[in-house]
Amino acid sequence: MIELILSLLVAVVLLLTLYLFARRSKPSAEGSAQQLREARQTLDSLQVGLLPNDLVQRIFAKEDLEYVLSAAPADVRSLFLLERKNIALAWVRRVRGAVLDLMRFHRGYARLYARLSLSTEMLLALNFFSLLTVCQLLQIAVHLRGPYAAPGMVRTVATAAGRVCSISESSLVFLKVKQIDPLKNDPSRHGASV
């Protein structure tokens, strides 16, 4: 009798667990659409936030430093270094923020929709981790030694961010489907600056 009760209890617990799992993986249609929209916005903002590569190169161009050091008086040289330091830190903060947003999304929702493979998820996790670490190191280097302290790290951050972005994009390719939010894909909304 005791064995029967125990078996029944185990069965009830298992059923309850299954029910909870089923509920978690089937959010409401409205909620899903909202989450997909947010996810796509996060992905888009990461791509926009990364800035074009040529602009990043311009920000960290040694050519400007050399010219300013050779042509400008001391006060202008200090102003230049301070301005570039602020821009460099703002760029690193932006990349870091965008990557954290995307990471949050992947942790929270992506696996429910994207059917990511284990290897893709592992690769993404590794890339997220290494990118965040390099961002942190770059931030410290720029703080302590100025914007031209670690050109190698700048290249690493830019390349790794681009890589994370393309892995995410390919794993979340369904987010680019126009039907999710037709208004967002209206071509007339793009290109007009007025």
Partner: protein, 156 residues
């Protein structure tokens, strides 16, 4: 494309603008300031009488907006050395007294309002920072405070 005719008109108007007006302004900085000044700050719309009479107000507005963004992108890619050169040629084109020009640009910072709409805030901050530095270097070269004294000259 939903409006092919309208789009090609915008391209024609932009080419017209480049040929007739902007070709007299070799420096992107000059073009940026000029195109920024054709925008109504209350509505964000661009106006150009000649262009509007040849095409339409809407087409002229879009063409001006496109050329404005183009000048902005070119300026973003300019090095500090190049910007100093552009500031110099801009001052010469306005025929302002250097001291008056410096005083006005330092206090009013017109390049800040000349940035096109919907541009990336970090990119426009970078541009304004570069113009500020170029202005400071130009000032030092003009008034003999540069590191290259004596005989300091503008970059060629």
């Amino acid at each position: 494309m939903p409006f092919p005719a309208e789009y090609s008109n915008v391209d024609l108007a932009a080419d017209d603008l480049r040929r007739r007006t902007l070709s007299n302004m070799p420096a992107p900085l000059e073009r940026l300031i000029y195109l920024g000044s054709t925008r109504d700050y209350n509505t964000g719309l661009y106006y150009h009488d000649g262009l509007a009479s040849r095409y339409s107000e809407m087409v002229a507005c879009q063409a001006l907006a496109n050329c404005h963004r183009e000048a902005y992108q070119q300026l973003l890619q300019s090095s500090v050395r190049d910007l100093v050169q552009q500031v110099d040629s801009y001052v010469k084109s306005t025929r302002s007294a250097p001291r008056d020009f410096i005083a006005a640009w330092k206090s009013l910072q017109p390049y800040r309002v000349a940035v096109p709409a919907e541009t990336d805030p970090l990119a426009s901050e970078f541009l304004c920072s570069n113009v500020k530095i170029a202005l400071a270097i130009w000032e030092s070269l003009q008034f003999g405070r540069s590191r290259q004294q004596p005989g300091a000259s503008l970059p060629q």
